[in-house]
């Protein structure tokens, strides 16, 4: 009897779910997040940030009075899962999507282009920044390739001149990342091009899993090349394991890291080995002094009181950035009477000029020919127990003749 009641309840819930659609007064936004998969070490905090930011938007009028309904799914970093979820978002009449990984974002790019669905991803792959190829893919941050070039340049400017071998030989450079991950490998071509441009010797790549906890064999292999600087393309957990092993085995190289491997957890996990690590950052760290930070902290405390403040990361801010950028675009499109995918892109995003989100990131400029938000990238290092600005690398200003040709790398 109980089983029958359960089956009936389940059937009713399914029926309601199948028939559920957005009401006319709501603006549906879908979100794909990774809370359980290979990138969940950074994905959890980002997902919390997205949900909290949507609450903030709704508390501040939604989209010109229309509340935003967030449909947020954890897809466990599985690409086939992401494809089905995308269809489900469409079925639920989502007007835009907050996406996650590079693999699924790139896999969906032609589909979102055909469907004219703005797709604001946490993947900042440079391949998604060229509107000629992927007009509906956007993100409120400088892209991986730009960041990689900027960080290597900052190391070359600030660290290499202090090296004992400066002027005697070329600096040596190597990369450590999961080669099978489109996220980790996205900026490889760009950073190696930058290394060639700056006159580095480039060593063999080391394949390190996104879920690696032991990387000694890769570090030992790297020692043969004796790199002066190593670029790490994975996320925080894997990068901290690599840094620890490099420290323990005396690799003797400096470390530069892609932004998803560089957050408040890095020094917690890598401890002394994190000292001196550098990365381009796209936002302020959690709790830093920026105009919007009090709101970020307030909403984190209000909606996720169970997550201790000291555990919150800069990923929260990245989630907020993408949501606030989309919110602004939707408000502009709605004001222009065109809250459609095309409207959000053309009358929303592509009307933003030096738009400041107040979260310590680059001021956003999107044009119909270039979705890279900025050519200026702040590069930070972890030194003496805190994150400190090393320099703002102005790639556009320094290589104006090359800047345009780097689009879409």
């Amino acid at each position: 009897m109980k089983a029958k009641v359960l089956v009936v309840v389940f059937a009713i819930m399914v029926a309601v779910g199948v028939c559920s659609m957005a009401s006319a007064a709501e603006v549906v936004v879908g979100a794909l997040n990774d809370m359980t998969g290979a990138t969940s070490d950074v994905g959890k905090d980002y997902a919390l940030g997205v949900a909290e930011a949507i609450n903030y938007c709704n508390d501040n009028g939604g989209v010109n009075g229309k509340p935003i309904k967030l449909i947020q799914f954890d897809y466990g970093y599985r690409v086939p899962e992401a494809l089905t979820k995308y269809k489900l978002f469409q079925r639920m009449k989502a007007v835009a999507i907050e996406g996650w990984g590079t693999g699924d974002t790139e896999a969906l790019a032609p589909t979102v282009t055909a469907d004219k669905m703005p797709y604001v991803s946490a993947s900042y792959s440079g391949h998604l920044a060229d509107p000629k190829k992927t007009p509906y893919n956007l993100f409120a941050a400088t892209d991986y390739s730009t960041n990689a070039r900027a960080t290597l340049t900052a190391w070359f400017d600030k660290r290499w001149p202090k090296h004992a071998d400066f002027g005697k030989r070329k600096p040596r450079f190597a990369c450590s990342y999961q080669a099978s991950s489109p996220y980790a490998s996205a900026p490889i071509k760009a950073i190696k091009d930058q290394a060639t441009l700056l006159g580095f010797d480039i060593g063999p790549d080391q394949d390190v899993s996104l879920v690696a906890i032991d990387t000694k064999s890769q570090i030992l292999a790297m020692k043969d090349f004796k790199p002066d600087v190593v670029w790490h393309g994975n996320t925080t957990m894997s990068v901290s394991a690599t840094l620890r092993d490099a420290y323990a085995l005396g690799l003797g190289a400096d470390h530069i890291i892609n932004l998803w491997g560089f957050d408040e957890n890095l020094p917690r996990l890598a401890e002394k080995a994190a000292e001196g690590a550098m990365a381009a950052t796209v936002n302020a760290f959690y709790g830093e002094n920026t105009p919007m930070m009090p709101k970020v902290v307030e909403y984190a405390k209000k909606f996720n009181p169970g997550v201790p403040q000291e555990k919150r990361l800069s990923r929260t801010i990245q989630g907020w950035s993408n949501v606030l950028a989309l919110w602004e675009a939707m408000k502009r499109a709605d004001k222009a009477g065109d809250l459609t995918g095309e409207g959000i892109l053309k009358k929303g995003f592509e009307t933003m000029q030096e738009f400041d989100l107040g979260l310590g990131g680059a001021k956003l400029t999107y044009t119909s020919t270039d979705h890279r938000v900025s050519g200026k990238v702040p590069v930070y290092e972890y030194k003496d127990g805190k994150f400190q600005l090393v320099q703002v690398t102005d790639l556009k200003g320094r290589w104006p003749d090359k800047w345009q040709s780097w689009l879409g790398w």
Partner: protein, 366 residues
């Protein structure tokens, strides 16, 4: 279990009739009805979301069919089948993107169909390579050698070498319009659906036919007792390797089909978990049953989607439920396997067989 009782009063008087595909007019009628549902009913009522769910069922069924053949009919346990799907997908993609096709074949839209066939052959041969240890080892040891297929194929060969072709690194883009069969560009869920249905029907029929042949009987003999099979004069190694080839061939078709549903392909599309999932599909559907493969695929995909649907109404009050759904899904997968192992070890196919026989023998079902 494979024997289904005929409706009351039906008797066969010769072997030809006994071995016929559709033995009675009623069965023929059921098949025609099923075809009408598949080719007209579903496409006319399903929206893009449900079509994508159907496509996922088809992809799962195609992948699981090879696993069923190996585990269910030949007794060769495999836990690396995603690797052969990857080989099929990558071979087809590379052929479409890089092979210098004669203009006439491109104009006729034959590049993709030919690439599917070549991909299947390559995947079949690749599968045979990893089936070679089956000549010497079985059971747990064979599981480990098949798992090696995943690591060697996807994590090493495809990631380190194949993905680097063209210089992009990792993901191959499949620009819109690339996947074309004859004059039809496969660019919508509906077209992918029709392609999936045709492939599932063709391959299922092929496997069922093989199982009715000398080859199929040899596989079943090996599964039941390989020593007895050898004593009976069956070349065990040869038939095992042929089973690996056919399983790889089907996996290759599945992989090559799946690219029609994607705009880019990367090694991340073929995780080891997918091999495990395919084994779960046949365990739930029924080991040693072709029907079971289809039922298992439908169960694994549709039940998970329905669970998702059931969660949506609650999300208004408990928004975190949507995010926590993956935990529910993983738990449901594990729970379903445990429940089937305990309560219905023969899988959904056995239930289907019981139900069918009940009606066939009605009103004399004793």
């Amino acid at each position: 279990m494979s024997t289904t009782f005929l409706p009351c009063g039906e008797y066969h008087q010769n072997y030809r009739k006994d071995h016929a595909w559709w033995q009675t007019k009623f069965i023929k009628g059921k098949m025609v009805l099923m075809m009408l549902v598949l080719f007209i009913g579903i496409p006319s009522v399903a929206d893009p979301y449900w079509l994508s769910v159907c496509n996922q069922i088809g992809y799962t069924a195609l992948g699981a069919l090879g696993v069923q053949l190996l585990i269910g009919f030949c007794g060769q346990v495999t836990l690396g089948h995603a690797a052969f799907l990857a080989v099929g997908a990558y071979t087809s993609t590379l052929m479409i993107l890089e092979f210098p096709w004669p203009k006439v074949l491109m104009d006729l839209g034959l590049a993709y169909p030919i690439s599917i066939f070549i991909a299947a052959i390559v995947a079949g041969i690749w599968c045979v390579l990893f089936g070679l240890p089956s000549a010497k080892v079985k059971g747990f040891y064979l599981i480990l050698t098949t798992m090696a297929a995943q690591f060697i194929t996807v994590d090493f060969v495809i990631t380190q070498y194949i993905s680097q072709i063209g210089g992009r690194g990792q993901a191959f883009s499949l620009p819109p319009g690339t996947i074309k069969i004859g004059p039809w560009v496969i660019d919508s869920d509906l077209k992918v659906y029709f392609m999936m249905i045709v492939l599932v029907i063709l391959l299922t029929a092929a496997v069922v036919n093989l199982l009715r042949s000398r080859v199929g009987r040899a596989w079943v003999a090996i599964r039941d007792n390989d020593i007895s099979a050898e004593v009976m004069g069956i070349n065990v190694v040869q038939y095992k390797l042929f089973a690996f080839f056919v399983a790889g061939f089907i996996g290759g078709v599945a992989g090559a089909f799946w690219i029609s549903n994607l705009a880019a392909i990367s090694p991340e599309h073929f995780p080891w978990f997918w091999s495990l999932w395919l084994v779960g599909v046949i365990l739930i559907g029924g080991v040693g049953s072709v029907h079971g493969t289809i039922f298992g695929s439908i169960f694994m995909v549709v039940v998970m989607e329905l669970l998702q649907m059931a969660v949506i109404p609650l999300a208004a009050s408990y928004p975190k439920l949507l995010m926590d759904f993956l935990f529910i899904k993983e738990a449901a997968f594990g729970l379903a396997i445990c429940a089937f192992m305990i309560f219905e070890p023969n899988g959904l196919a056995y239930r289907w067989w019981q139900t069918k026989n009940y009606f066939n023998l009605w009103p004399f079902s004793y």
